[in-house]
């Protein structure tokens, strides 16, 4: 593990970034900008959650969206059948949904982990397709294609977006905290071992199931929390967008790749670049064919020119420069010594 920042510097940076993000709505930003902020944080949270499984254990999962959708439906169903009040109260439900979906993900993980490598990717895509299919057809529970309605939150119009912005920020901060913790823990080391060589890791006595299932369930839980907040914000859930295998599934991975997979801040940086761009395309080009082409072009450019991601590239450069500076200092020291030696001899 190469780190650019020392632990205390990292914590300081994290707290600073989250604080700045929390204060952002007070700058008097218009609601459409806060709206973009919500989606940026959603992608940042989803990308970081995906990083747990895809970046740390190396299992490229397209299943994040499945759990995102489950979280969204879980919130809508709780509203419909149990009733959780209104206003800020439903936000308390979000972590519960996260835990429930995390548990639900374990048996699904058992099926997916029967495979690895490319088949694993396909199985996780199939998972999304199957769930979308069930959401479409189990009309008695899910309401079919029109989906479910969630009552509109009674927040004043001017500040309506802000609450969801902060909720999404909390989900993102929690995801980031979990990632930061995992990276420094024994569990994280196990995950990285699985990524580098699962068979060797097992040969050396790593119980590889533990990091795999932990990453899968953790990723699922945080994705579900993002999904729940998203559903409450849009106040509607339907199969096409809850289990969106076409844009969301790939968008999450693109965000992670753009930022740098396996890095702590990569998904956030990726989301910061990609989501506003994507929203801009959607607004200016409309949700039409040009939007698709522009989106594909961004994809292609990232893959061709920045495949290792922004954070990884910058971190590599910084580390290299630092190393060069250290070796330069050593060199001059050595020269000084040599000069001294010569002087003594002379």
């Amino acid at each position: 593990m190469r780190r650019v920042l020392a632990p205390h510097q990292g914590l300081l940076a994290g707290v600073t970034v989250i604080t700045v993000l929390a204060l952002f709505p007070f700058t008097g930003a218009e609601s459409w900008i806060v709206n973009i902020g919500i989606f940026t944080l959603m992608y940042a949270a989803l990308g970081s959650a995906w990083n747990l499984i895809g970046g740390y254990t190396g299992y490229i999962s397209l299943g994040s969206v499945a759990f995102f959708g489950l979280g969204a439906y879980a919130l809508a169903l709780t509203f419909q059948h149990i009733g959780v009040g209104n206003g800020l109260l439903p936000f308390l439900l979000v972590p519960v949904i996260g835990i429930v979906v995390g548990v639900i993900s374990l048996p699904l993980g058992f099926i997916a982990f029967r495979t690895r490598g490319l088949p694993f990717i396909i199985v996780t895509i199939s998972l999304v397709i199957i769930l979308q299919y069930l959401a479409l057809n189990l009309t008695a529970i899910t309401g079919g294609a029109p989906g479910l309605q969630v009552p509109l939150a009674p927040f004043p119009p001017g500040t309506y977006e802000m609450y969801f912005y902060w909720a999404m920020l909390v989900v993102f901060a929690l995801t980031l905290l979990a990632c930061a913790y995992v990276r420094r823990s024994r569990l994280g080391l196990m995950m990285f071992a699985v990524r580098e060589d699962e068979d060797k890791a097992r040969g050396l006595g790593v119980a590889t199931s533990v990091p795999k299932f932990a990453a899968f369930a953790g990723s699922a839980a945080f994705s579900a929390m993002a999904g729940a907040v998203w559903a409450y914000y849009l106040s509607t859930v339907y199969p096409q967008f809850a289990f969106d295998g076409e844009f969301l599934a790939m968008g999450i991975i693109l965000v992670a790749y753009l930022g740098g997979i396996g890095t702590l801040w990569g998904p956030f940086v990726g989301a910061l670049i990609l989501t506003p761009a994507q929203q801009y395309f959607a607004y200016s080009l409309g949700a039409n064919q040009f939007y698709l082409v522009a989106y594909a072009a961004v994809f292609v450019l990232v893959m061709l020119f920045l495949p290792r991601g922004v954070v990884t590239t910058i971190a590599d450069k910084t580390l290299r420069r630092r190393r060069r500076r250290i070796s330069a200092a050593e060199d001059s020291e050595r020269q000084a010594d040599a000069v001294g030696d010569v002087a003594t001899v002379g």
Binding site: I111, L118, V123, Y133, M250, L254, Q289, L292, Y295, A296
Partner: protein, 291 residues
Amino acid sequence: MHLLIQAIILGVLTGGLYALMTSGLTLTFGTMRIINMAQGVFVVCGAYIAYTLFTYFTIDPFLSILISTPLMFAIGVTLQRFLLRPIRYDAHRLSLLMTWAMAIGIEGILSFVFGTDFRGIVTSYQNTSLTLFGYQFPLVRVLAFVLSLVVLVGMYLVLSRTKFGRAVRAVSQRESAAKLLGVNTDRTAALAFGVGAATAGAAGAMFGLVGSFDPASHYDLIGRLLAICVLGGLGSNAGAITGAVVLALSESLVQAELSPEWSSLPFYILLVVVLIVRPQGLFGVRSRGAI
């Protein structure tokens, strides 16, 4: 009973077409170790080419394959050359995203050119059926099935008898060894990707004949094709054909006997069961290490 056998007939006929679509996926996976997420959009592309040639030049879809196949081959080789070959870092995974980007981009271009309405190729023999022992054999599906078989057999012959085929098999066994023995692996990969796109082009013409399609059809299609691959075992041709027939057969049976909404469910259940019992797929080879 009559309905059951009729459903089986339809299922097998459709299965042949799916097998043809999947064969391209198997080929690219075999040679390049990548999953071509654009295979679905290549099929849709083939359908639009056939549609255009039929509507504006009144060329029969089965004849238009002679045009669409080389065209799709050229498109495939070009895409491989300029978008896939430059990927050097983490190529297997990034190629997956890159082919997906191709799929979205081509979908965008298709919706720009043709709009997002559903289209269909309506020929004079659209509703003609052959009747044999009291069972209906829709002409279009029979022809599509026969043509799929011809292309599949042709591909088998190319892979097993020609120098190109030997290169493909060598690369799929071990790329580095093939390179050492003088196989131009870059060229082989490009040709294989092109051939994969070409089979999709041929399949697309028939896909357009048997049903209606829009640019977004590829999403549903690639999901099915990938599921077929996993069921049969990734990289296995026999597996792809078996998976395709199982998918089409189960859909057709459930549609006829139970309900059209749930037609895909048995296949998905089967897929999950197969993954639990035999994760490498029906015909897959169990491999150690990252596949």
